[in-house]
Amino acid sequence: MKGGELTVASPEILDIAAVRAQFPALDQRVHGHPLVFLDSAASAQRPRAVLDAVEDFYVRDNANVHRGLYELSRRATERYEAARATLARFIGAADPAEVIWTRGTTESINLVAMTWAWSNLRPGDEIVLTLLEHHSNLVPWQLVAERTGAKLRYVDIDDEGRLRLDQLDALLSERTRLVAVGHVSNAIGTVNPVREIIERAHAVGAKVLIDGAQAAPHAKIDVQALGCDFYALSGHKMGGPMGIGVLWARRELLEAMPPYQGGGDMIDVVELERSTWAALPHKFEAGTPNVAGAIGLAAAAEWIESIGHDRVAAHEQALIRYGMERLGAVEGLRLFGPKDPAERTAVFSFALDGVHPHDVATILDAEGIAVRAGHHCTQPLMRRLGVPATTRASCWVYNTTEELDRLAEGLETARRIFG
């Protein structure tokens, strides 16, 4: 990945067999063929370390947190807060209290929409989004616009699916209150120059929210170096459990924001007519939290650190180069996204002449190859690309060039059937 915020040191070669051996789900046959899992952008597989951490919590330490005065509750609380500290380190946060547990990126973004945006935006204010956004970084802002009278403005893309930064300056003004942009496009894999976007947005006094769902599995995140105001990510896209994610925000923003949901754990004193709020981060975490999820997500973060971000990135760069060449050789295949491997992730989103993406996916599935076909929760982007849907093959650290060969062969089969 390009950009000052994503460092790639000189990496050693990844022992891919050893990596794969840590993912039990990869070791199976589907429809008689060894599974080729190419849908990690939707949800990645989990390493044994994550599965063990979740089970270990339920087997040894299972109890509610922040309440019990007994040993199991103490241990559960300790592990839950240690997981928060791990995630704070993983994303470069200054303080674990700035790390709010959520159900995932979608809830993280909705939390900012329903607290910060609802209480701060006024008619005439503007929110700048881009055509690359996932519905989860688009629909919440439509709801905000409807409620507050704020307007949405969009940055377009160029022919390679890169943001038109030249338009950003024209859109930014003193009316801009927020720029909400994905770190990496889920649909076509574009790595956005977020640091530059943040600088320009801050120059007009706007806050910046980064949807990091597709970046966290692939690159070292450093929220302080980026300088953003909000950063959202999901556990299940980086090898963690489903139903857990993170919202990071700068302390002064979180302090000023009203609570998100009311309930247990988020209060200080409750009276009949009013209450006061717990200190950060608990002010935003009403109810019994997903303790096992948080512990599992921390295990995923530690697992990625044990492999090393630089080696993950180098492996994925090799897959990008191989995949672009191999898929580029399939007749009638049109690959979307940037041509420069440094500007993209190992997400191959394409159209195949004469074969609809659903048919491609069904034919590949019959050969044990799992891909996603559809609009990838980016309907405005599909319209912009001029296609109803694409087929998307997305890789992570465990995928191999041999698997991309099988993908290319499966696409040849699709072409033969529809020939």
Binding site: R29, H31, G32, H33, G354, H356, P357, H358, D359, T362, I363, A366, A373, G374, H375, Q379, M382, P388, A389, I417, F418
Partner: protein, 148 residues
């Protein structure tokens, strides 16, 4: 390589007739003077169908469709419009019900000659995630007939 006997074969899905209707859809276009229509889409995958009918004295005199989607959704709509012409509203409703049962694996419905060429789609029932594709046009028919 070991064979998983439970795996449905692609050949049962992508039959010649289906591919033919996908590549050369029949009754595709705008129907002038249509007096019943429905526009359905499948939000999970983006497939869409606009079905238009001309119903005269309780009979479907003409049917046309416009749409975007996979081979299954488009061929199903194409064959359906062929079959509908000349059918009464009640007969069309019965066909929609029979086709839906065939998609849910009902072997008797799949043997029913009244479905004509559409029986080529019987294999779709072995691919559960594709059943909604085959039903899109028929759900549009049910919707359109409500306004008759």
């Amino acid at each position: 390589m070991e064979i998983d006997r439970s795996t449905p074969q692609l050949g049962s899905l992508y039959q010649e007739l289906i591919l033919d209707h996908y590549k050369r859809p029949r009754n595709r276009g705008e129907l002038e003077g249509a007096n019943a229509e429905a526009h359905l889409n499948n939000p999970t995958c983006g497939d869409q169908i606009r079905l238009q009918l001309l119903v005269e004295e309780g009979r479907i005199a003409d049917a046309k469709f416009l749409g975007d989607g996979c081979s299954i959704s488009q061929s199903s709509a194409s064959m359906m419009t062929q079959l509908l012409k000349g059918k009464t509203v009640e007969e069309a409703q019965a066909l929609a019900e029979r086709f839906t049962r065939m998609m849910h694996g009902d072997a008797d419905a799949a043997r029913d000659k009244s479905l004509g060429d559409l029986r080529a789609l019987a294999g779709v029932s072995r691919f559960p995630v594709r059943v909604k594709c085959a039903l899109l046009g028929w759900n549009a028919l049910t919707e359109a007939l409500k306004s008759v």
